[in-house]
């Protein structure tokens, strides 16, 4: 299978160290266009989720409007967000205390 094309942003443009040490969440928001099966596939492919976990997150997005699909260091959260946006999901980054 072809690899997902992940365009990684240059390191000089990543956030300062203080922010890197915070916890960042990758949140997927609902959209009315992308197929449920498409969203499940992306979650499995990008995060390595099993079918049950991928479907749970997809349904959370669909029914509650959002799902936190990953949390951790900012640099990796940015990479995941970028990849999800490449697949045209509405993905946003949130930091601790953002809500």
């Amino acid at each position: 299978m072809a690899d997902t094309k992940t365009h990684t942003l240059p390191s000089q443009h990543t956030a300062p160290r203080l922010q890197l040490e915070s916890t960042w969440r990758v949140v997927v928001l609902n959209d009315p266009v992308n197929l449920m099966s498409y969203v499940v596939l992306i979650f499995k492919k990008v995060f390595g989720f099993d079918e049950t976990t991928a479907r749970r997150h997809m349904l959370e997005v669909h029914e509650q409007g959002r799902s936190v699909v990953w949390s951790g260091l900012r640099e990796k959260a940015e990479a995941y967000t970028f990849t999800l946006q490449q697949w045209h999901l509405t993905a946003v980054l949130e930091s601790d205390g953002a809500i």
Binding site: A2, K5, H13, L35, S37, L41, K44, Q86, H88, E94
Partner: protein
């Protein structure tokens, strides 16, 4: 994933390609789904957006390349490891733009469940909706094959 082919109805699909091409051209300069970024640094935002746009253009080129001479003579399109993911993403981009450009008046609920009275639509909207469904069908084929390869890996 194993390469596979999809047989399409030429008289049905060929007229929809004008819509696909028109929207793909429009997406050369703009993202189908503009990203929401927390970063206030404009250089960072520009880089992020440019990278997404470059990827989007590569994907759209893969989708347009699907409709080659073989399609117009045999009605068949060929997919495989080299183009399936790009085409799935490109279908998503075009569908997002179709909604934005033509289908918003139909309402999101109707779009999500696909319950739209075709006869009640004017010609451009009907064509756009047919295109929306066609691209979803292509995605479903790809998802089925990619899913099998993920399960099998």
């Amino acid at each position: 994933m194993e390469p596979f082919e999809i047989a399409l109805s030429l008289p049905v699909v060929a007229p929809l390609l004008d819509v696909v091409k028109e929207l793909a051209d429009g997406l050369k300069q703009t993202l189908a789904a503009p990203p929401v970024l927390p970063e206030s640094d404009s250089v960072f935002r520009d880089l992020w957006t440019q990278e997404l746009l470059a990827a989007q253009n590569e994907d759209l080129a893969a989708l347009l390349a699907l409709f080659n001479e073989e399609f117009f003579t045999e009605g068949v399109v060929a997919l495989g490891p080299s183009n399936a993911e790009a085409i799935a993403r490109a279908c998503s981009a075009i569908r997002l733009r179709l909604r934005e450009r033509y289908l918003v008046p139909l309402g999101d609920e109707a779009l999500e469940i696909g319950e739209v009275e075709l006869d009640s639509l004017d010609a451009p909207t009907r064509k756009a909706f047919m295109c929306y469904l066609f691209l979803a069908t292509i995605q479903e084929y790809i998802i089925q094959h990619l899913d099998e390869s993920i399960i099998g890996s």
